[in-house]
């Protein structure tokens, strides 16, 4: 037994070395390529649907009866919030695990493939009823609106597929730790661990919700508890968006410093940010229910604090990022209070895209803090402001970081290189995307403050003067949406060019080193079990009160409705 262990340990060491020299193994590369392909096909399709919506909302385009606004909106949400983000995140982190842990274990690779096909299968199942207009319930699917049961079964498969990938990641990390006792998990794998922990625990509530919905949608159970379903959904829904955010943050901390030729921020503080985001995330979902009935004011107030606490790691991130930029720029001879910004590689899309993504998080985060503050939520809840907010956070901060990643990750896995032409195209794409998003989300924020609701097809509300006054802003939405579609086309072209046609060559996986004089990171950061326990306790504190109240003092339930 001992010798076998030693032998496999030795081959592992050899494999790790090979991995460093030759780059990613073909099998691991194929996995990531598949995940990224699906992600970028999803953005192509989702972007197109988004354009249709924007044009409709501005009153410029009447959608046909067989493809109405709400069908388009449901598909747009599902494609971008679930498919694009999940597939990109998993593809990116599996490449990261493969690179930093010396290749994926064969077992883990198999799990990731099973997860891949489960998610595809689930997604196809969910899309069929949407196309048949049997599931125009939005990706939030609040009961008592009931879609075709097939839709929910599709969601179950997507969740199970994600769990497959999460457990695969845990197995790979655990095996690495066994082989490297006493060492810290490499930082990118540390981020991956956090993301997959959140993916698993965050999707537990929605899994419970869907399992209560399915028998009800089939008609085996007559009624459903509406508020319990809604609360479980948001325990998941908000965690999900923060998972994509944490993925983007990983690139900011680990990748971007390397690209600009600098060093990574303090390792301990980085790991604390990850741990804090993991522990405090799930409880943040409550700020989606600030104006819901049935939750008492003290409980809502407690949740404001829990939501705003997530801001703390983000404020730490803001400082860390600027400090990394400034140090690097000054090493290169940057001068002055802001003059050093000139020394950053603005012409490099791998830096430009994530930088603008970070800058976008300033207004996006500010808006987030404001809207999760109790009374102010009344001003913006369910208006276009919210849509503007998550297009800034997801569409800019997260997706643009993903774009920036794709310019080195895709050539890395396809063993090709980023050509100067594609780099230039990427810079142009970044500028178009930025302008489009600023116009669109700016208009959305403003018209939302004036009262225009979200998730509503074009309407003048019987030529109401107030509603008519929103039209000019909604027009900007269409302009921004059109620019974004152009951006999507360029981006998808760039990704598939880099994947299949770019010149062959070696591309580096850019992981920055820590500062040379950095203090060693304490061991306690590795105790994931403890962080998970803290998370469970916090989730208990937040959710036990309202859930017990909704279940014990439940009103008579609601039967299923199909109102579209």
């Amino acid at each position: 037994m001992e010798t076998i262990m030693n032998k496999s340990g030795k081959t592992q060491v050899i494999r790790e070395k090979v991995n460093k020299v030759l780059g990613i193994s073909l099998e691991d590369a194929r996995l990531t390529k598949s995940y990224l392909s699906v992600a970028f096909l999803a953005i192509l399709l989702g972007g197109l649907l988004g354009l249709l919506q924007g044009l409709n909302r501005a009153g410029l385009l009447e959608l046909p009866v067989w493809l109405n606004y709400y069908q388009v909106l449901t598909a747009h949400g599902l494609l971008l919030v679930v498919v694009l983000s999940a597939f990109f995140t998993i593809g990116y982190f599996y490449a990261g695990l493969s690179h930093t842990l010396g290749g994926l274990l064969p077992k883990v690779r198999k799990m990731a493939w099973i997860g891949f096909w489960m998610k595809i299968f689930g997604f196809v199942l969910a899309v069929i009823p949407i196309l048949m207009n049997e599931a125009s319930v939005m990706y939030t699917f609040y009961p008592p609106m009931a879609a075709s049961p097939i839709f929910y079964i599709g969601l179950v498969f997507i969740v199970l597929g994600v769990w497959m990938c999460a457990f695969g990641a845990f197995i790979n990390v655990a095996s690495w730790r066994k082989r490297n006792p006493g060492q810290h998990i490499p930082i990118l794998s540390f981020f991956a661990t956090g993301v997959f922990v959140l993916l698993f625990f965050g999707s537990l509530p929605v899994a419970i919700e869907v399992f209560t919905i399915i028998p009800w949608a089939f008609g085996w159970v007559e009624t459903i508890n509406v508020m319990v379903a809604r609360t479980l959904f948001w325990a998941f829904g908000h965690t999900l968006v923060n998972i994509w955010y944490l993925t983007a943050v990983s690139a900011w901390y680990v990748i971007v410093p390397k690209i600009i030729g600098g060093r990574r921020w303090n390792d301990l503080l980085t790991r604390i940010v990850v741990i804090a985001l993991v522990i405090m995330n799930i409880t943040g979902g409550f700020h989606h229910q600030i104006i819901d009935p049935g939750i008492s004011e003290p409980v809502k107030y407690m949740h404001v604090f829990m939501s705003l606490a997530i801001g703390f790691p983000s404020l730490m991130t803001a400082y860390a990022m600027f400090a990394v930029f400034e140090r690097t720029a000054r090493r290169k001879g940057g001068k002055g209070l802001v003059g050093w910004y000139k020394k950053l590689p603005w012409g490099d899309v791998r830096f430009l895209a994530p930088f603008i993504a970070m800058a976008a998080f300033i207004p996006a985060g500010a808006g987030g803090i404001v809207q999760s503050t109790n009374q102010l939520n009344q001003v913006v809840h369910n208006t276009m402001w919210i849509v503007g907010h998550f297009h800034l956070t997801l569409g800019m901060s997260v997706v643009m970081t993903f774009f920036g990643i794709s310019y080195w990750l895709v050539p890395y896995v396809s063993k090709r290189v980023l050509t100067p032409q594609i780099n230039k195209l990427g810079v142009i794409q970044t500028i178009i995307w930025t302008i489009g998003m600023v116009i669109m989300s700016g208009a959305m924020h403003w018209v939302g403050l004036l009262g225009s609701p979200r998730r509503t097809s074009y309407s003048t509300y019987f030529d109401n003067a107030t509603a008519l006054s929103w039209d000019p802003y909604l027009f900007f939405l269409a302009i921004g949406g059109t620019l974004l579609m152009i951006g999507v086309l360029i981006q998808v072209y760039a990704v598939f060019y880099l994947m299949f046609f770019a010149p062959k060559g070696n591309t580096e996986f850019p992981v920055a080193e820590v500062e040379e004089d950095a203090a060693p990171t304490p061991r306690w950061t590795e105790r994931w079990g403890l962080w998970i326990v803290c998370m469970i306790v916090l989730v208990g504190m937040a959710y036990v009160i309202p859930l017990v109240d909704f279940i014990v003092n439940a009103p008579p339930g609601s039967p299923p409705y199909k109102t579209w």
Partner: protein, 154 residues
């Protein structure tokens, strides 16, 4: 481990957020301006037979004070036309007869989720005369964009 300026930044920025929290708490608990949180339960399938929703409408309950009992259903508000004099305070008592709806009045702070099985309450003082647009801001089905009415303040 941390640069001094980083500590100062975290202290000040988080202090600012705590400041926002304190204002919110003061307004919620001392001035009773909290978000709509009423939670009386009701059978969502028997709204029409349950008081006060068996008789929806507007009722004067004091000088410059009105109470509106309202049901929301696909895709309308009952009662559909509301008129109050300028300067009056209106208390809305709301519930849904089918799916989740949103009750929003543009250019006011009226914004509340109306969930089947729960009674929701929200209050607003209308100072300026005009026609206010009432709309549903939670997607509720094919005719969601038509679900609206007006409040006339004279």
């Amino acid at each position: 481990m941390m640069h001094r300026s980083e500590k100062v930044w975290l202290f000040l920025s988080f202090g600012m957020i705590i400041g926002f929290m304190l204002i919110t708490g003061y307004q919620t608990f001392a001035l009773e301006m909290g978000p709509p949180s009423y939670g009386e339960r009701i059978d969502p399938q028997k709204v029409d037979e349950t008081a006060p929703f068996d008789n929806p409408g507007i009722k004067q309950i004091g000088e410059d004070e009105y109470e509106v009992v309202m049901t929301l259903q696909v895709f309308s508000f009952t009662p559909s036309k509301i008129e109050v004099p300028a300067g009056s305070t209106v208390h809305f008592i709301l519930t849904s007869k089918d799916v989740v709806h949103g009750f929003q009045v543009a250019e006011t702070n009226l914004n509340a989720m109306v969930v089947p099985g729960y009674v929701q309450k929200i209050t607003q003082k209308f100072d300026n005369p005009g026609e206010y647009l009432v709309l549903c801001n939670e997607y509720c089905g094919a005719g969601h964009q038509m679900m609206s009415t007006t409040i006339t303040v004279k």
